[in-house]
Symmetry: C2
Amino acid sequence: MSDPIEPLGGETVFKGKTFSVAVERFRHHDGEQVEREVVRRQDAAAIVAYDDECVWLVRQPREAILRFTLELPAGKLDVEGESPLQTAQRELGEEIGKSARHWQAVISYFSSSGYSDEQVHIFAATGLRDVDAEPDPGERIEIVAWPLADLDAAIEACEDAKTVIGLQWLAAARRTP
Amino acid sequence: MSDPIEPLGGETVFKGKTFSVAVERFRHHDGEQVEREVVRRQDAAAIVAYDDECVWLVRQPREAILRFTLELPAGKLDVEGESPLQTAQRELGEEIGKSARHWQAVISYFSSSGYSDEQVHIFAATGLRDVDAEPDPGERIEIVAWPLADLDAAIEACEDAKTVIGLQWLAAARRTP
């Protein structure tokens, strides 16, 4: 069942600032052709940044779902030539005002592989220290230092995929040192 | 920071079979208006179906990312009037050929809240038994009975958000009965 899927091209039907949409055709190994509507979007990097007491989260507006959500700091890979790790390091400074001595790749996942190619790379960051950072004035971001003692409550309170995944990982990592 | 976000309307720029795209405006509490490109898509339900030995997964083609992925059985809430739980129950029959005596809501999350309103509702299903089901002939789905003893390897092997979240939850639930 893991035969290759051959892309046959398609048509871009929307080209936006943050993603585009294409209607594309693909050929399966047995010759059958299928058509799919696909969102093409830059990948993202997210950070599980924690010390002995807290994991550092952000609360920010998500207009698409009309609410403020509690999330891992994260950002799109929108700087030319930047690796996922470099994006994570930059975003930790911009959103939380910290740098980290130790970085670990946790997991990379696709947000919703049925219709989008967006992949998110999650890193753990420890050995945190404060840095001078100019927060992006356009971002309405509140920094939340969530106590690790209440990590299960953070998993309950968060609502987006990357944050659930990152905090579930952290809870498991703390159980099995 | 949790002030309401007021939707001001917008324009649908793509209307597809599985999602639409709109450029919409929103007003924040302080009066500032922002514009967002938003994917509007039906929500989905996914199932962590397991017995004493296995968790039941599917391997299926995801053309958008040109690969076959190992996933929780899942489906869109595309039947009028169906609740997320009912969709999960239907999909467990259609994709795995099983019904379950016990259902538990695990978590609901947004796939990628920066640009999409898609929410996925994950349920755990136990007390499984075989049912007569007609698999959808259009779906190239291979059923995979993954041994619970190798659950960590499944978390490594899967690549999509719902499956990572569901299997991390199962691993944690098995650690703390």
